[in-house]
């Protein structure tokens, strides 16, 4: 009796230990992508989190293919024409279907747009498409979309955010279930999602576009940097995201993998210009001169970061090529501080989110630089929720945030600086007006000039300490040919085996 109990307990424990599935056998038709975290859901309309978006973009197609220079190419929409400054007319490819066989038609596009804009879904992408009034279905394959004002980034925004989902399926299962079991229009369909382990996608054989080179696509989430790199080195993974600077050379030296550095993350240090001491432009310029960005770039990023001049990333359309980054000049910084009435500096706070990579060492380095001109900085590491909450309630004095180094300037300069968007820490009517103008100027050359001017004004007015664009590197196994994208989404149908 006793023995029996004991052996039963032992048996159960053993069973527990052995109840672990075997590792997924890897073949050359399978591509394994390891990200920093597992997505929380797979409905790309419901999330703006990078890990979700990366998986989601493989399952969901938008109507057009966004390009790295903020232009667009045909995709699900095979051709389009500009009817007037406010309206585009689109024609869908013939015979395209969703993964469940539903036809991709104009009605589905309309349904998708309406779903994205609905209050019920609370989509984080809603704001990106508010300029559009709606989808007007002309016939099965054609539809029109118009804006109330000329909207220059329109096509690019549609290419980035108008995902198309199957109406029948969504209506049947509801939003919550769709988030777990999406059926999309993209090159890959969801095969199965083993929570906490992996997401398995397989190529959709009736995809309207070119077939992806890899038949199977596996996404895994591994938060530990070291572990991700190890998985690339051992061949467990083909593509890994989030490779920290100090590990990059190691990957190159290993001879097993290479790096893509298309993606950048533009870090910036925001200043609360509504309150003293940063309400004074001289103080704001002074702190820009006080931070030794070239040294930080050299030490922390191995000189691979791009120093920013103004708010528009140097790689982005509209950045003023005539601007030079603020030089490191502590003497000038002290002079400006003295002029502003702070000859002995002041005390302030610097908040940063602990979830950002490498952020604490940047914050500490910046604080050390500011200390040299007499500014005592108290560091405030916050978790994501607190950081965001304090940000929106205007409680920060200095804060480090980042934005992806996106090709379309309107996307973030408008979001961050227009007083109709975020009016948390800075407001400038001249900039507001120019941002509106930039949005509605349809001619690219004229539009570039508008953004050049915005860049210059904000450079002078310095509502931020302009930092740098840090290359966000992906590690790719040598057997795989993959370039990567500037916004970092892992759209893997462009990957192929290397010859």
């Amino acid at each position: 009796m006793k023995k029996k109990t004991a052996s039963t307990i032992l048996g159960i424990m053993l069973a527990l230990v052995l109840a672990v599935g075997p590792a997924l056998a890897k073949d050359k038709n399978t591509l394994v992508v390891v990200q920093e975290a597992e997505p929380v859901g797979l409905d790309i309309m419901q999330s703006s989190i990078q890990t979700t978006m990366s998986v989601g973009y493989n399952i969901h197609d938008t109507i057009l293919k966004p390009q790295e220079d903020a232009t667009v190419k045909p995709g699900m929409v095979e051709k389009w024409e500009k009817v007037d400054d406010l309206t585009w007319k689109f024609t869908l490819v013939k015979g395209a279907t969703f993964h469940n066989g539903e036809p991709i038609n104009a009605a589905a596009v309309k349904f998708s747009f309406d779903r994205l804009m609905s209050d019920a879904l609370k989509s984080p992408h809603k704001g990106k498409l508010t300029s559009f009034k709606g989808v007007e279905v002309l016939d099965d394959r054609t539809f029109k979309m118009s804006t109330s004002q000329p909207y220059a980034p329109g096509l690019y925004m549609l290419a980035q955010y108008l995902f198309v989902v199957p109406p029948e399926y969504v209506k049947k299962v509801g939003d919550a279930e769709y988030n777990l079991n999406p059926v999309g229009s993209g090159p890959y369909k969801l095969d199965k999602w083993v929570k906490g382990q992996e997401i398995l996608l397989t190529a959709y054989d009736k995809y309207y576009g070119p077939k992806p080179a890899y038949h199977k696509l596996v996404f895994k989430g591994v938060p530990e940097e070291a572990s991700r790199i190890a998985s690339l080195m051992t061949g467990e993974a083909d593509v890994i995201s989030g490779v920290p600077v100090q590990q990059r050379q190691k990957i190159v030296d290993s001879g097993k993998a290479y790096l893509t550095d298309q993606m950048g993350s533009m870090n910036y240090l925001g200043l609360n210009t509504y309150e003293k001491p940063f309400s004074d432009v001289k103080v704001r310029q002074a702190v820009n001169y006080a931070v030794n960005r070239p040294l930080i770039n050299k030490a922390l990023f191995k000189d691979k970061a791009i120093l920013c001049t103004g708010p528009i990333s140097p790689r982005t359309f509209g950045a003023d090529p005539g601007l030079k980054p603020y030089a490191y000049d502590p003497v000038k910084a002290k002079l400006l501080l003295a002029e502003a009435g702070y000859p002995n500096g002041f005390e302030t706070r610097l908040a940063f989110g602990t979830y950002m990579p490498q952020v604490q060492e940047q914050a500490e380095a910046i604080a050390a630089d500011l200390a040299k001109v007499g500014i005592k900085v108290k560091l405030e590491p916050y978790e994501r929720a607190v950081m965001w909450d304090k940000y929106k309630n205007k409680l920060h004095q200095m804060y480090i945030y980042f934005w992806d180094d996106a090709p379309e300037p309107d996307r973030y300069v408008y979001s961050l600086f227009h007083s109709k968007s975020r009016d948390y820490y800075y407001k400038n009517e001249q900039v507001d007006a120019l941002l509106d103008k930039g949005r509605s100027t349809m001619d690219p050359a004229a539009r570039a000039k508008v953004y050049n001017e915005i860049d210059r004004i904000l450079y002078q007015d310095a509502p931020w300490i302009y930092l740098y664009v840090i290359p966000e590197v992906y590690g790719v196994a040598n057997a795989v040919d993959y370039k990567g994208l500037r916004d970092g989404y892992l759209i893997m149908n462009t990957a192929k085996p290397k010859k």
Partner: protein, 305 residues
């Protein structure tokens, strides 16, 4: 002279307890483990207090171009940074030394807080009994079943992380063991002659508690407290590791580990040395605690370890 004269009973008792402490110390001195632990611990405390006399570096001074310098015995290392530098080129040795202060301070202060709360509640619970007792013990049950890490993390999420809050949180989350131990001891002492005698002459409850009962439950608390200091130091480093501990730039062992973890493949010293420091400290405390327990044996056989 309005203090009541001490009863001979009490004096006798005091002498007995003094004698017990003397014996304890002698027993401690006979145990090689306890002596080793004591010496090691004294060294750690001494270093933690006095190191600035010998080693004057600034734990916050950065030398970005000398970042990730290995310890002196490795190729590329130098005696300028005996234990190497971290990711911002700060001296690892001096940071570990400063870190010891945080760990020890948080460890001891939290235990004091926990002790204070636990002793008070345990005394009250055990001495008064009845409804007071059952309420306190029910609350203790609840705290016992609450996953400790989750409790501390959620309280810190409310209060924000500072060294003071950390001490408060760790202390207040850890009162249960003390309260239970004290309560047990009080229950057994309560019926002893000298307490009954004091009560029969009309001494007030509070006086009995503080003067007669409390001194007699001190030794289990001492042993328990020693063990808990070790645990708290580990928990503190764990919280720091999760980014919920003492905020930067003040160096703590746990955060040094967390920061170093990113550099695990090319700066082994960053993840190894602060951990070694934690281990040696805990080891010394545990050795001392074991010695204490053995020395105070057999009265304390059932202290949870």
């Amino acid at each position: 002279m309005n203090r009541p004269a001490a009863s001979p009973e009490r004096f006798r008792h005091l002498r007995a307890s003094l004698r017990l402490w003397g014996e304890t110390l002698r027993a401690l001195a006979r145990s090689p483990g306890a002596v080793a632990g004591g010496v090691l611990f004294a060294l750690i405390i001494g270093t933690s207090i006095c190191f600035q006399i010998f080693y004057t570096k600034d734990p916050l001074a950065q030398d970005l171009l000398a970042r990730l310098t290995p310890p002196f015995w490795q190729e590329g290392g130098s005696l300028a940074y005996p234990l190497g530098t971290d990711n911002l080129g700060r001296d690892v040795l001096v940071r570990i030394l400063y870190g010891s202060r945080v760990s020890l301070m948080v460890g001891f202060a939290s235990v004091l807080v926990a002790c204070g709360a636990g002793i008070a509640l345990g005394l009250i619970s055990g001495y008064y009994g009845g409804r007071t007792d059952s309420v306190i013990m029910r609350v203790a049950d609840v705290f016992m079943a609450y996953p400790f890490m989750l409790l501390t993390i959620s309280i810190i999420a409310v209060l924000g992380n500072s060294i003071f809050n950390l001490i408060l949180v760790l202390g207040l989350s850890d009162w249960v063991t003390y309260a239970r131990t004290i309560r047990g001891s009080v229950l057994s002492i309560k019926e002893k002659e000298f307490v009954l005698a004091a009560r029969s002459v009309g001494t007030r409850n509070r006086v009995i508690l503080l003067r007669h009962v409390f001194p007699n439950v001190l030794s289990p608390i001492l042993v328990l407290g020693t063990v808990r200091v070790a645990n708290i130091i580990i928990w503190e480093s764990g919280l720091s590791f999760l980014g919920m501990g003492v905020p930067p730039p003040m160096p703590t062992w746990g955060r040094m580990l967390a920061e170093g973890r990113v550099y695990i493949t090319d700066a082994w010293w960053l993840v190894t040395l602060p951990g070694l420091a934690i281990m040696l400290t805990i080891l010394s405390i545990n050795l001392l605690g074991d010695g204490l327990r053995d020395a105070l044996d057999p009265r304390l056989r059932n202290i949870p370890g």
